[in-house]
Symmetry: C2
Subunit: 289 residues, 2 copies
């Protein structure tokens, strides 16, 4: 069988796995009537078309995920958005952001992403890319970023960047590594918690960078609330205290002082809950078509 | 006659001047039927109440401008917003931003302010303070800002800050000063245009700071367009070339590259046009009540 131009076998195999998984889940749930299909997927993507090129899924490059799901689930609304946007939506719909008019939900993990809620509605932006807090510049002379820029928040505060920074400064991971294991940001956070000074400095540096970017977002968008989730946010006070200190130092106008910082309430489920909200609360969270 | 508590005689005198001016303008126009009253006023203010405390009008502190105008023009819609917001609205309604879905209009002058349009609508923010691009941090170790923070764009790129920076570095203004005159940012720009190296460096520094803040706004809000107005923007390429260079260096994601930078089309009229738009195009620009 011919593969459509530009789509490799891997892309098809991956979609079939996804499709089989969906079938199994629906079967196990007793084949309920569907309200629709909501998907959070790694970016970048063409939005609202839902042609996805997730950085961490090399098999899909410009893969027409939304179109293929429409074929797979005929007659259903199918809505695809960025995974960090979905996490923000999940927190606004059912999590720590419920009822807030103006919030930024962010995910600090392998990357640094986010989603923006203003006037109680998801802000998509003309290309679906609003909320890219990870590419706010926090140090113009800082490290190069995967985006091709310099000194972006993501280049400093993403987990792998912390690990590199710490190893360069002589961090010796405490925990015995698995045979193939590279040390992770979680290992670094664990070591920081037991007093490793390089680990603590790495988290403090990331926290300060986050605080600067959040101060910018607060001034620009008149935010009520910032929600911080993602793996690295599990580091807790070692990350969040310098974040708060920096944010407070740089948000001094009366209106900006009110901004609150909350940890994500839904944990790893936030993205799934947000994907559901694209369908179940589309008037607030889906303006794609 | 008693003055209401908290309002000095100066506040009343100033309001009477405003009221007399409005009467004279209406009279000269042949007493037309009004559609309403739109006002752009310096911030900060309580919004949408329109209680104003303009930094540059000490006579008004928490002055109930909107309420007083409602008394003065009974039965009319009266709408008051930040002057930089009105300038952005003016450019979107009738100027360089017409038809753009996502733009930031900014004013670089004695202060640095702005207004944010997303989805073709003015974004107010819960307290009416969205668009405060002047308080995006561009240099965490930079100069103190009037807001109480450190390293804000405004602390670096407002006209008077350029003058101070240049004088500290030995700038000797070329143009003969008037007896009482302090050198202004316009003098500095004039000298830069004729080759003064300190003047050029001051404008370049401001341009770079603007570029960094605009890169942040572009990533966060998925902007199509930035419009730069205000007195300092008259400095032209000496300001705008380093602005563009810095913006391009830091906006590398595909979606962000599309952002354009345009000079304001309406000049000093932008704020007035925008104040009119609060009334004449209220569905897009007024969500205050």
């Amino acid at each position: 069988m011919d593969t459509p131009k530009g789509l490799g076998v891997d892309a098809e195999r991956l979609f079939r796995s996804l499709s089989d998984l969906a079938a199994a889940v629906l079967d196990r749930a007793g084949s309920p009537e569907l309200a629709g299909v909501g998907v959070g997927c790694g970016g970048p993507m063409r939005w609202p078309e839902g042609r996805v090129s997730p950085l961490n899924i090399p098999a899909w490059r410009d893969f027409p995920l939304r179109a293929r799901l429409i074929e797979r689930f005929p007659g259903q609304p199918v809505r695809v958005h960025n995974d960090a946007v979905c996490a923000a939506v999940g927190e606004h719909w059912r999590g720590a952001g419920h009822g807030h008019a103006a919030m930024l939900g962010m995910v600090v993990s392998t990357g640094v992403g986010g989603g923006l809620i203003l006037g109680g509605q998801l802000v998509d932006g003309p290309t679906g890319n609003a909320g890219h807090i990870g590419h706010v510049v926090v140090d113009p002379d800082g490290p190069p970023c995967g985006c091709g820029g310099v000194g972006c928040l993501e280049a400093i505060a993403r987990g792998p960047a912390l690990v590199v920074w710490a190893l360069e400064r002589g961090w010796r991971p405490q925990r015995a590594r698995q045979a193939t294991g590279q040390p992770t940001a979680r290992d670094l956070a664990d070591d920081a918690r037991t007093g490793d000074p390089i680990g603590r400095a790495a988290l403090e540096r990331a926290g300060r960078a986050l605080g600067l970017a959040l101060a910018a977002a607060t001034a620009l968008c008149d935010l009520d609330l910032v929600i911080v989730g993602g793996g690295l946010s599990q580091a807790g006070p070692l990350l969040l205290v310098p974040l708060e200190e920096t944010l407070r130092r740089h948000t001094r106008l009366d209106f900006a002082r009110r901004v609150g910082v909350q940890p994500a309430a839904l944990g790893q489920q936030a993205g799934l809950v947000g994907a559901a909200a694209l369908v179940h609360a589309g008037t607030r969270y889906w303006h794609g078509d």
